[in-house]
Symmetry: C2
Subunit: 393 residues, 2 copies
């Protein structure tokens, strides 16, 4: 078992009307001039944004706003935010939205204190030591960014999507009202749950398989998410099941499900290239490549895939045929993705066949010209990455 650090200091305020506490929470964590960061029009249309601004005003907290964050959040918006924060002497960022808005907020938070180009941080050329305090009013449960140390930004110049993790960006508080997720379209709901489960799977598929407590907790969350998604797709305004999913997304990615495990994370980078090139929804891109990744790597630790098949997907264990059990687990996961409307290959994701040139471009980016391997469960070089994309085409 590997040593680990667990640090998830975010104060979660969960429930109906939890937004009412926004102003007192901003004050509690030292905010006096706030950047309210948000995405498209839905935060405005739903009335949530006006409610938040009204509550800040009522409490005498100054703010500026910056909307227009898009899925796969862009570096140009981050630049805009950094400039605005400096000009307006902002000391706190409140992200109202989902993972894209929170990730954009984190990048702005780093950038404000760095005189160089913020993209350096995502390219590993500079390690930030300060970040503006971040907090969030969550409306899209998926990325888990509301409690995590990670953020993913897309540089439009080259369509490169890269993540960076640092504890200094963990949000101070996260306001979560499941009612705010009632209007999420089915596709977004399913893609979100796919992303949550994948955050757990990226940690679960590990060679360090002696932390049984982490495994048991991880499996309990995955199974609950898989149960709840069907209930939510049938009845989108079911508070009870929306709540499980909303909280599950945070637990999936706050570090809890990785304690004592190395983790893999290759599927995320494989999916990021698809999102970068085709602007594909993150969760859907993960579903499109995971089955191929799994079939390519499972022999590196068959027993791990057997455990997943049996404990998470309810596959009957054929003790005389571990490989068969492992493969039936991968099939069952494909069936799950299909049943909630997720693609299980690239053609289903982008609506046409992918070209050889496109695959080559993704391989080049994903391996950074074969200089950076991906994954730990099986270390993937450029050739491996190409093979997986071809299996997934």
């Amino acid at each position: 078992m590997i040593d680990f650090n667990y640090y998830a200091p975010t104060e979660v305020v969960f429930g109906k009307e939890s937004e009412e506490q926004v102003a007192s929470l901003v004050r509690k964590y030292g905010g006096s001039k706030v950047l309210v960061h948000y995405g498209g029009g839905s935060a405005r249309r739903s009335g949530l944004l006006d409610k938040i601004l009204g509550l800040l005003e009522k409490d005498g907290i100054e703010y500026v706003t910056l909307g227009g964050v898009v899925p796969n959040p862009r570096l140009s918006k981050v630049h805009e935010g950094i400039e605005l924060c400096r000009m307006e002497k902002v000391d706190f960022i409140l992200a109202v939205g989902g993972g894209s808005v929170i990730d954009s907020a984190k990048a702005i938070g780093y950038g404000v204190f760095y005189n160089g180009e913020v993209w350096d941080i995502y390219m590993g050329r500079y390690t930030p030591v300060e970040c503006l305090p971040i907090a969030t009013v969550l409306t899209i449960p998926a990325a888990g960014s509301e409690m995590s140390e990670s953020s993913v930004i897309t540089n439009e110049d080259g369509d490169i999507k890269v993540g960076y993790s640092n504890d200094i960006s963990r949000p101070k508080f996260a306001i979560m009202n499941p009612e705010r997720t009632f209007t999420l379209p089915d596709f977004q709901t399913s893609a979100g749950v796919t992303d949550m489960i994948m955050h757990i799977m990226e940690r679960y598929f590990s060679h360090d398989d002696d932390m049984t407590l982490t495994d048991a907790v991880a499996e309990s969350i995955m199974c609950t998410m898989m149960d709840c998604i069907y209930e939510v797709l049938k009845d989108p305004e079911n508070y009870r099941y929306r709540a499980q999913i909303m909280w599950g997304g945070s637990l999936a990615h706050n570090g809890l499900t990785g304690c004592g495990l190395t983790g893999d994370w290759a599927t995320h980078q494989l999916g990021h290239e698809l999102s970068g090139l085709f602007d594909a929804t993150h969760g859907a891109a993960l579903a499109a490549v995971w089955p191929s990744w799994a079939r390519y790597v499972y022999k590196n630790n068959v027993s791990r895939f057997v455990r997943f098949a049996v404990n998470v997907l309810g596959v009957t264990n054929d003790y005389s045929d571990p490989e068969g059990t492992a493969l039936r687990g991968i099939e069952a996961m494909e069936d799950f993705y299909s049943s909630i409307g997720m693609p299980i290959n690239i053609e289903e994701l982008i609506g046409r066949e992918i070209t050889d040139d496109e695959i080559k471009e993704m391989v080049r980016k994903c391996s950074r010209g074969d200089t950076v391997p991906q994954g730990k469960f099986k270390v993937l070089k450029a050739d491996d990455i190409e093979a997986i994309y071809r299996m997934a085409r």
Copy 2:
């Protein structure tokens, strides 16, 4: 489902040689003059205390020491600690030990900032707004105090044992090295695991039974603890299983297993009276009263006890007889307690029959003269408390 707050900011540093980081962690969280608080001789005998003091010295961090904390930590020691901290201008408390030492540290931390009698806080007469920063090097996994907001102190003047909870006392960091628990005697190991599981059960037995994610996580931790205790009793120096138990104790009580649930907590107060009067080990006192509590209250929510019986204890569900299934679950829990050397009634706990007068004294204290009811699953007045003690005698 009830609304909830989740806040567990403690930085956990888990693994072999994690103690090596103690000085840098104290500095990170602002400590410059430390009270190193500890219990009996074991921290000294094992060499851990000297190691910690050496590391602080090497880093130029000043300290004073205060040992002698006993199980069911005493108010008099808390007074001593407060005086020492004020005299020495201590700005940080490092608890080296288990729950008793950490709880004593928390009480000292509150008391330093309060000019009145610190017992007022535990009696609900004063709410502290400040606490010295607390941190811990954990050696006895049980109480979960290393990540929790709670502490329990015994006032020798009247043998009254009372808990108090406040987020301001949550430890800044917790250093956990499972090797430090290798020498724990079997009885302490079993009592610790009993306490951990009870921290989950106190939350689990709730009328708010629609937070299935919390239930699933809670069950996964309880089942893992029940598996691991047998391995540890067979092989006390098994790092893998000691590690599950050590981390399980933190997860049991950091708030995770109570999200969305009201919780009960009557068994804890019933047990506290036994510890207060007979100086009984906390975990053992809980085992001695829980079965009687369970049989007295289970009819208030039979399905909850059925779920516990089936999902945690592996009892076969007799769908035609929910009450029978519930009762078989309580029996199975008794069997578990017995199998790890825990008492299942008061006579087994204290080694003799309890007298009527002793029961009356405990009832009076537990109900504060029938002015304070205990529990939420079933609200217990003085008569109920007496009935449970009599069932448990």
